[in-house]
Subunit: 253 residues, 2 copies
Amino acid sequence: MSLSPASIERPHCGSGSPLVTKLETVAKLTDDDRSALSALCDDPREMGPRRSVIREGERPDHIHLMVEGWAARYKLLPDGARQITAFLIPGDFCDLHVTILGEMDHSITTLTRARVAYIPRSKIDALTERPRIAKAFWWATLVDEAVLRAWIVNIGRRDAFEAIAHLMCELYVRMRNVGLADDHCYELPLTQEELGDALGLTPVHVNRVLQRMRADDLISLKSGQLTIHDYRRLEATSGFNANYLHIAQRAEN
Amino acid sequence: MSLSPASIERPHCGSGSPLVTKLETVAKLTDDDRSALSALCDDPREMGPRRSVIREGERPDHIHLMVEGWAARYKLLPDGARQITAFLIPGDFCDLHVTILGEMDHSITTLTRARVAYIPRSKIDALTERPRIAKAFWWATLVDEAVLRAWIVNIGRRDAFEAIAHLMCELYVRMRNVGLADDHCYELPLTQEELGDALGLTPVHVNRVLQRMRADDLISLKSGQLTIHDYRRLEATSGFNANYLHIAQRAEN
DNA sequence: GCATGTGCCTAACATATGTTAGGTTCAATG
DNA sequence: CATTGAACCTAACATATGTTAGGCACATGC
């Protein structure tokens, strides 16, 4: 469902890797930096949907980078309930932190067919010798943290309609930032259950809300393709403000 | 209520600063490192409860470190609702990230009377020249991120009773880690409204749950002092597992 | 010593969301 | 072509939590 074989052939819309596209929005990179970063995305591993990338408790000697497709960071509760704490899209590191924290405190799974780069820690260490790249990696990590805060607000203080709307806005901006969305339209290959697991809702209720959004002519969502018909209203009703993604100040620095 | 004048006189139980106590659980520090870090906590600013530490949109040239008392990281919604995304206790940096992200995407307020150190960015830059300290700061940042993930799970997938229990366990371990808790007892100077703002609940419902916890003989909570009578049960019912705080592997480096 | 405010507590009632159950569609598979 | 399974969709009913309203206790300040 998620990715046609054709789209697997062309790893990303933009010219460079999604990682480079993303980091260039905040850091001035040299050609040399760019090609070193691009090289990380060479030779990714092909994975099917619902495959484990890394599991809680593991201490890998390499880190993972999304090159294509979607994945989710999640935790399981004793009763089997799942809470997704992040959606990972192309250009996102899965577990940059594990080098310092030692052991994973959560798991990661692909959601769609995906391409994931396995990068030895030594390569990361070499890259972070370059101050510009080190700073860009810091930035990416801190934005991930800002997204977590936004999710807490979303789950804690917004009702289901607002929360789903907010998530759609966030994913739109993030996808556009790696060249995978345009014209208020992008691939959102999540099941209603996965959306619910991210927002603390049941699939039944996610369905109710999506029906209402369609009836309101806010969005279309069909076979993994989301089209936002009234982005202004989606933003307004959910109180979305992209400042926490920290991609606006592209001009400075 | 929060802090007696007497306790203001003795900034922390342990011998060093709370920051040193915390970082030493994960990093081998030299005497030199220790005293450099301790010096950060010298001359903190005294603040009353409910005072703004930093506001959304600000771009400070210094960063803030909690030396004593409690603060909260929060976001306000258009309708005035507040979501707290973190409780800050002694030893916690408030905004280490603002150096790289440029602008605050949320606000921070004291909750109790507090002592907050104002540290010029240059001092931080100098400290992170030392690899051990740089790594320890990284660790602290990444643990903050892990706590955010745990909160998402808490708010998204646990009911009010479990969520409050989980938060009490987390704060117990964190307070103990800076020498401010012992014997399942610590100062928890939060109003029921503040607890609710952290967990996405109303104060009325927080009250209901606390009453039930007292009736069950799980805890006592009176005038800002929490005593956990049955820590095992509190852990078990909330599914608490301290692994995400990453303070267990103290033995290894 | 009275007034004021803040936090705590309780009760009656309202509602968003969960639960259970089952039907429909459609792509994948043998 | 029939079968299977996943995802989607819907409905009736259950419940955890929110809302509104007000009383109580205690500390603070005049």
